[in-house]
């Protein structure tokens, strides 16, 4: 039974504080995804959990055991390193089977498991190669293979699929999901891929600059981001923001308006607001619809046609840059004006401190 508990975990490299007090609770068998901007401390956190990085302050429990000073070997973890860290002198086969060899697994068991992993990772033909003879994505798969042949209590994955092609990535995602179900192990997973995060996670942890911003289920984070950072970070393309003024307060809504958007009543918790306050309204590019009678309009500045949808960059009257994702393939002229609308219940209002004011549910 290996849940994880992190209690105000801190990590500094000399002067630089990288992890600034992280509290987190991971249930046994949960699939937790860490997301956050580059350099925010995801890998560091993972490495602290693994026992590779000394903990500057705070407590780390694996199961019920305080593990600050426990050897990685005794923590019951497997890890995929962001940098792979394949053993250069071993073949793929040996790399993958190394952990089992150390655990003194019988040879036939090892062989079976290694071959099984190779099958899952679609690299059966590479087993005799040395890492130096592999492509980037192939190396990454070996790194995954090394982790999944073992049956630890906790899996740590650091951007394990970043160098794989889309199709393979989808396959691998499935396989990891399956593994998770089969083993019932706790998994902690770092990724920059929103789709991965959304589809795999039981729980997403959003980190920024060493601080946890929000913890929640994928859909919760998407629909009810706790603050501007999470709102901007989760969802791709990024949520559009615009500053508006509070016109009127309802019981469970506020009416806002501004240069770009006419008065619109948006569901929100008005408790901390008063009329005349400046707030930020956020709306996702996918929630903008082309409509001639829309409540806003922008000048098209860039059109990206992806096939099934079209990304349109817009310049609002206030000068703000917005993006709209329109269904299907649209041909739009640069410079033309595009009238848009959105459903008010899709919009989120943030106060001046950047905290989201979701309406009571």
């Amino acid at each position: 039974m290996a849940g994880l508990t992190l209690k105000s975990l801190r990590k500094s490299y000399g002067e630089v504080e990288v992890i600034k007090g992280v509290d987190l609770n991971v249930e046994h068998g949960e699939f937790v995804v860490f997301v956050g901007p580059s350099g925010c401390g995801k890998s560091t956190l993972l490495r602290m959990i693994a026992g590779l990085e000394e903990i500057t302050a705070g407590d780390l429990y694996i199961g019920d055991k305080l593990c600050n000073a426990v050897e990685p070997r005794d923590r019951g973890i497997a890890m995929v390193f962001q940098s792979y860290a394949l053993y250069p002198h071993m073949t793929v086969y040996d790399n993958v089977g190394f952990g089992l060899k150390l655990a003194k697994a019988p040879k036939d068991v090892r062989d079976r498991k290694v071959r099984e992993a190779a099958r899952i990772l679609q690299m059966e033909h590479l087993l005799d190669r040395k890492p130096s003879q592999l492509s980037g994505g192939q190396r990454q798969r070996v790194a995954i293979g090394r982790a999944i042949v073992r049956q630890p209590e906790v899996f740590l994955f650091d951007e394990p699929l970043s160098n794989l092609d889309a199709a393979l990535r989808v396959d691998m995602r499935m396989e990891l999901s399956k593994l998770h179900q089969d083993l019932g192990a706790t998994m902690i997973y770092v990724t920059h891929d929103q789709v991965e995060a959304m589809t795999l996670a039981d729980k997403i942890v959003v980190l920024n600059a060493g601080v946890v911003q929000q913890v929640g289920s994928p859909i919760e984070l998407y629909q009810r981001p706790a603050n501007l950072f999470v709102a901007g970070f989760i969802g791709s393309p990024k949520m559009n923001f615009v500053e508006l003024t509070v016109e009127q307060l309802g019981s469970d809504s506020v009416t806002v308006s501004g240069k770009d958007i006419g008065p619109t009543q948006v569901p929100a918790d008005p408790a901390s607001l008063k009329v005349g306050d400046t707030v930020t309204l956020g709306i996702r590019p996918h929630d903008l619809l082309e409509q001639s009678s829309g409540n806003l309009a922008g000048e098209v500045s860039l059109v990206e046609r992806l096939g099934n949808e079209t990304n349109v960059s817009l310049r609002l009257p206030s000068g703000a840059s917005w993006l709209a994702v329109l269904d299907g393939d649209h041909e739009l002229r640069i410079g033309q004006s595009l009238p848009l609308t959105f459903a008010p219940e899709r919009a989120v209002i943030f106060d001046k401190a950047g905290m989201a004011l979701h309406p009571q549910q």
Partner: protein, 275 residues
């Protein structure tokens, strides 16, 4: 618990090293403290008087301060030849390790041959005389370079493999010429090996006495090892002075080692490549 055991290991290491490595050293020191009669006993007794200073004075002043000349000569010889040695050897090691051609086998054999065959002194002197380098310091410097090359090349060649080739490639793409690749990327990363080379070869050259004896005769050209002969002969040796001398000429290489030792650090290539 682990802390404790590592401390114990450390303590044990210090003790064992003291016995195994320091006892002979202490012998050298105490002999340097003795007078001639007591030193001649060559035993582990306590010096019956403090003669180190007079021994030192005698060692240094003997034969017109030959020791001082010798120190200067040896220092010049060592610095110059080790510098050349390190650069030349690293260049060879670099190309030899990186570029596979069908001549590699032959080249490696020739290099090994340098370790296997003792130098032919007399033909070498003829040759040096022929090219006008005999009895000249720079001639001897080149000799030391030639004799030291195989060792250094072998060391470099083996270690260049630990530097990811992609770094060369990145530098090449960045527009680096071979010399840039070598001096700005490879050589800095080989620093621990270079340190090893510097230390070992300095000791070798500094302590060399055969080559100066044959290739650079003359008092003005004495090197430190030759000063040992001031106190040592076939039939009669002043052990107190000999050991004082040994002690004295061991200090510079020891300082070199102490200085460079700190530069043998881990993690030179950390963060370079992914995979």
């Amino acid at each position: 618990m682990t802390k404790l055991s590592s401390r114990l290991i450390g303590l044990a290491a210090i003790l064992v090293s003291a016995v195994v490595f320091l006892v002979p050293f202490i012998f050298i020191i105490i002999t340097a403290f003795k007078d001639k009669q007591q030193a001649a006993l060559l035993d582990f007794s306590w010096p019956n008087g403090f003669h180190l200073w007079s021994n030192l004075v005698e060692v240094v002043t003997t034969r017109n301060w030959m020791m001082v000349t010798a120190f200067i000569n040896s220092t010049i010889l060592t610095v110059a030849s080790v510098t050349l040695l390190v650069i030349f050897a690293a260049m060879v090691g670099f190309v030899l390790a990186r570029r596979k051609t069908r001549f590699n086998g032959l080249i490696e054999f020739l290099i090994l041959a340098g370790l296997m065959i003792p130098p032919a002194v007399v033909p070498t002197i003829w040759l040096l005389q022929g090219i006008g380098l005999f009895g000249k310091l720079h001639g001897l410097i080149l000799i030391e370079v030639a004799y030291g090359l195989p060792f250094s090349i072998i060391l470099y060649r083996a270690f260049i493999a630990t530097i990811p080739r992609e770094l060369d490639e990145a530098a090449i793409i960045d527009g680096a010429r071979p010399l840039d690749v070598f001096f700005r990327v490879i050589l800095p990363l080989l620093w621990p090996v270079t340190v090893t080379n510097i230390v070992v070869q300095s000791v070798g050259v500094f302590n060399d006495f055969t080559n100066p004896l044959y290739y650079l005769p003359g008092n003005a050209n004495a090197t430190v090892q030759l000063t040992l002969y001031n106190f040592q002969s076939q039939f009669n040796t002043s052990y107190n002075l000999l050991f004082t001398n040994i002690l004295l000429i061991t200090i510079p290489p020891l300082l070199v080692f102490l200085f460079f030792n700190r530069h043998i650090v881990a993690g030179m290539t950390a963060g370079a490549v992914k995979g």
